[in-house]
């Protein structure tokens, strides 16, 4: 009965949101903007959400969420356009799509590939939405049992796992980025005693670093520098007549779609891991489990389906820890966290008490966004790809202006700009040297949570760390952190290698004796 009641409430919410013409205009406009952002190489979903945040802070919260989620969903999907048509991923999340998408376009099947990516992306978003609505009450209930120790360990775990999984070079480069992020979060007066840390006598630093300029600086400015410095040349887009959503292909690939969506949701729910990793893991799984892996990379429809379903399903996954724990699941979700705070919504275990129905509202918006994405993709694909003709040297300086005006307008402080540029330049060098930026950003966001909860926890326990070992969730998180760190040491790898060897040898002996 309760389920039916919730379902009824959910659909009435969908109807209420969808029947407001202004909401619909916002939804489709932001969706189109998102698809354009995703399609243009050099622009990312995170940047899209960041820049739109500045335009939404005058809106009421519900409408702002419609705009932000629509641009997020649209940008993740839009990346597939450039991947398929010009072999340059529009976003990192669509890099795996290019593997088979472009060969399909070369074979003259670009319309079919785009039809599939549009439909599977919509399905992925829908599955992600189902998980938000079904998992949120469970996680929220669990999170209510958390004490300060759990929150401290959760923040630490989020930063470390993000560093571990997103580092393109050495794992501890990801951790360095994470710790640098935590350091940035400690700048300013501390939340408990109001002591000025690392302010160097500058009153502008007393309030700490504003999150949005740091995020825009860390994600936007390196992008601008990279595209202009490295001369990104966009080739001629492959032609297609119309997008063909072939139901037969969808039905035939339902198991693959469900598997990819589950991978996407699962990876999205891990703090700080983005859509790009979800897409690659899903692509790899599809290839490994295929009966004909040799066709992957040569225009295999399953490859395109796997990456596009997963990266859009990741959005729902990323919203689960964001809404229930206050821990963003992906870089665009980190941006969403900043936007939510601007609108007076503090995500975390108390969200259901402070803002009853908010999670259901987000779920309803995700459902509307998946429909809007499908409709916009089907109707406007041919028009959208015209933006691929705009040369990057023309649009990247405009993006720089948008980054600057966006960072400034949130606090109307020129000081934010003074900070944004060095952060952007450092982030650019870090990226060049193989340091992931996501853990840095997650560190900036989760740093205050780690700081205040650690001190609060120790205050209650009078300086004892014993509660970590007596509380099950804290112990699990602690062990996960420990294993994650130890697993990077040579002795651990050798030990695991030896154990594996022994198991293999004993298996061999057993077989021989049989």
């Amino acid at each position: 009965m309760l389920v039916l009641e919730r379902l009824g409430h959910f659909f009435s919410l969908v109807f209420t949101l969808g029947s407001d013409p202004l909401n619909l205009v916002t939804l489709f406009a932001a969706m189109l903007m998102g698809i354009i952002f995703g399609a243009m190489p050099g622009l990312t979903a995170t940047l899209g959400v960041a820049l739109l945040t500045t335009l939404t802070y005058g809106m009421e919260t519900g409408r702002a969420m419609i705009a932000l989620l629509a641009i997020y969903v649209g940008a993740v999907y839009g990346g597939s356009y450039a991947s398929i048509l010009i072999n340059i991923p529009g976003t990192a999340a669509a890099a795996a799509t290019a593997m088979d998408g472009y060969p399909l376009a070369v074979q003259g099947r670009a319309g079919k590939a785009l039809g599939l990516t549009t439909t599977t992306s919509a399905i992925g978003t829908f599955v992600g939405m189902l998980f938000v609505v079904s998992m949120s009450p469970l996680i929220s209930a669990l999170a209510l049992q958390f004490t300060s120790f759990e929150f401290f360990l959760l923040a630490f775990f989020g930063i470390l796992i993000s560093g571990t999984l997103t580092s393109p070079d050495l794992v501890y480069k990801g951790w360095i980025a994470g710790f640098l992020g935590i350091f940035l979060s400690t700048v300013g007066r501390d939340g408990l005693q109001f002591y000025p840390r690392f302010t160097f006598g500058l009153s502008d630093l007393d309030g700490g670093l504003d999150v949005i300029p740091v995020l825009i600086g860390a994600f936007g400015i390196p992008q601008v520098i990279q595209v202009l410095k490295d001369k990104v040349v966009v080739g001629e887009a492959k032609k297609f007549h119309r997008i063909l959503p072939e139901i037969r292909d969808i039905v035939h690939n339902i198991p693959a779609i469900i598997r990819s969506a589950l991978i996407g949701v699962g990876i999205g729910a891990v703090p700080g891991i983005g859509e790009d990793i979800a897409a690659w893991v899903s692509y790899g799984t599809a290839k490994n489990s295929s009966k004909h892996p040799q066709t992957f990379g040569k225009g295999e429809l399953q490859g395109v389906i796997a990456s596009e379903t997963a990266n859009n399903a990741c959005i729902g996954g990323a919203m689960i820890p964001l809404l229930n724990l206050g821990v963003p699941g992906s870089p665009p979700a980190a941006m969403m966290l900043g936007a939510l705070m601007i609108h007076g919504v503090t995500p975390g275990p108390m969200i259901n008490f402070d803002h009853p129905g908010f999670i259901l509202q987000i779920t309803a918006i995700l459902l509307l966004a998946s429909f809007a994405m499908w409709i916009t993709g089907m109707l406007l694909a041919k028009q959208v790809i015209k933006v691929l003709r705009i040369p990057p040297p023309v649009f990247m300086p405009i993006v720089a202006v948008l980054c600057i005006i966006g960072s400034y307008s949130l606090g109307t402080r020129v000081f934010n700009l003074y900070l944004m540029i060095p952060i952007g330049v450092v982030a650019y060098f870090l990226t060049e040297m193989g340091y992931p930026i996501a853990p840095l950003v997650i560190g900036v966001i989760l740093g205050p949570m780690a700081d205040q909860n650690l001190r609060r926890a120790l205050m209650v326990s009078k300086g004892s760390f014993l509660p970590i070992f007596t509380r099950p969730v804290a112990l699990i998180l602690f062990l996960l952190i420990l294993i994650m760190m130890i697993s990077q040491f040579g002795f651990y790898k050798k030990l695991i290698g030896r154990i594996k060897d022994r198991i293999a040898r004993s298996r061999g002996r057993t077989r021989q004796s049989d």
Partner: protein, 248 residues
């Protein structure tokens, strides 16, 4: 990302910088109250504001040492030293482009935004930034960058010597007019340099249109739509406000 060999060299340099930075954080952390009284609160180590910075600096030192050792083991340190010895003079084309982006961003944010009409700042920034990268010719990039740098140095000189203040008192919006003249001069100079190449003339035309159209759209959105007071509202934004209130 860099190629592997270059990456290991960079690891060596970065690990040294990271260690120095971590030691600096650690040193600064020790100045924070750990046991003393702060604002009437008697501190114990576990509620001290120094606790997290201490953990962070310790972690960064350990990771910095690990990175340093790795870069030494993988030959990054040796490569770096060898590379210093055989380093030739001159800057690569990619680095010139990098410096051009930095010049544009730094002058836009640190020099112009706080002092000159925001509309003109955007035009000045976009005109330079789009032209030099859209033309995609190394010699033109250098030539136009020198002009742009010269213009910004002139403005810097005015601001440092505080000559801008008597100018602004004598001629309202005098600095805005000066920047407008610089923009026109830059455009004319570029036109002169590329006059023989019809492709580049067309690109310059596009650039001028984009450079003016973007602030023409953005400034009213933020100023009148979102009611954001812009960093410096000078002559052009003043005219926009007059038009806006005349139309109301």
């Amino acid at each position: 990302m860099m190629e592997k060999k270059k990456l290991r060299r960079a690891d060596f340099v970065f690990s040294v910088i990271l260690l120095a930075f971590s030691l600096f954080i650690l040193g600064n952390t020790f100045t924070m109250p750990m046991k003393d009284s702060w604002g009437g609160v008697m501190n114990v180590w576990y509620v001290s504001p120094a606790l997290l910075p201490l953990i962070v600096s310790a972690a960064l030192i350990i990771l910095g040492v690990a990175l340093l050792l790795y870069s030494i083991r993988s030959g990054g340190a040796r490569d770096f030293i060898a590379n210093i010895r055989k380093r030739t003079r001159g800057i690569s084309a990619a680095n010139v482009r990098f410096l051009a982006v930095l010049l544009a961003l730094a002058s836009f944010v640190y020099l112009n935004i706080p002092r000159v009409d925001f509309f003109l700042c955007i035009v000045w920034f976009l005109l330079y930034c789009i032209v030099v990268f859209y033309f995609d010719e190394a010699t033109l990039l250098v030539k136009l960058s020198w002009f742009y740098l010269g213009g910004n140095l002139l403005l810097l000189l005015l601001f440092i010597t505080a000559i801008d203040q008597p100018i602004s008192r004598a001629f309202p919006y005098g600095i805005d007019v000066l920047l407008l003249l610089l923009i026109i001069a830059f455009w004319l100079y570029t036109r002169l340099v590329v006059r023989a190449d019809r492709r580049l003339v067309a690109r310059l035309r596009t650039t001028v249109i984009v450079s003016v159209a973007v602030p023409l759209i953005l400034v009213p959105i933020f100023k009148f739509g979102l009611l954001v007071p812009l960093p410096h509202e000078g002559g052009i934004i003043g005219i926009m406000s007059l038009i806006r209130y005349a139309l109301r």
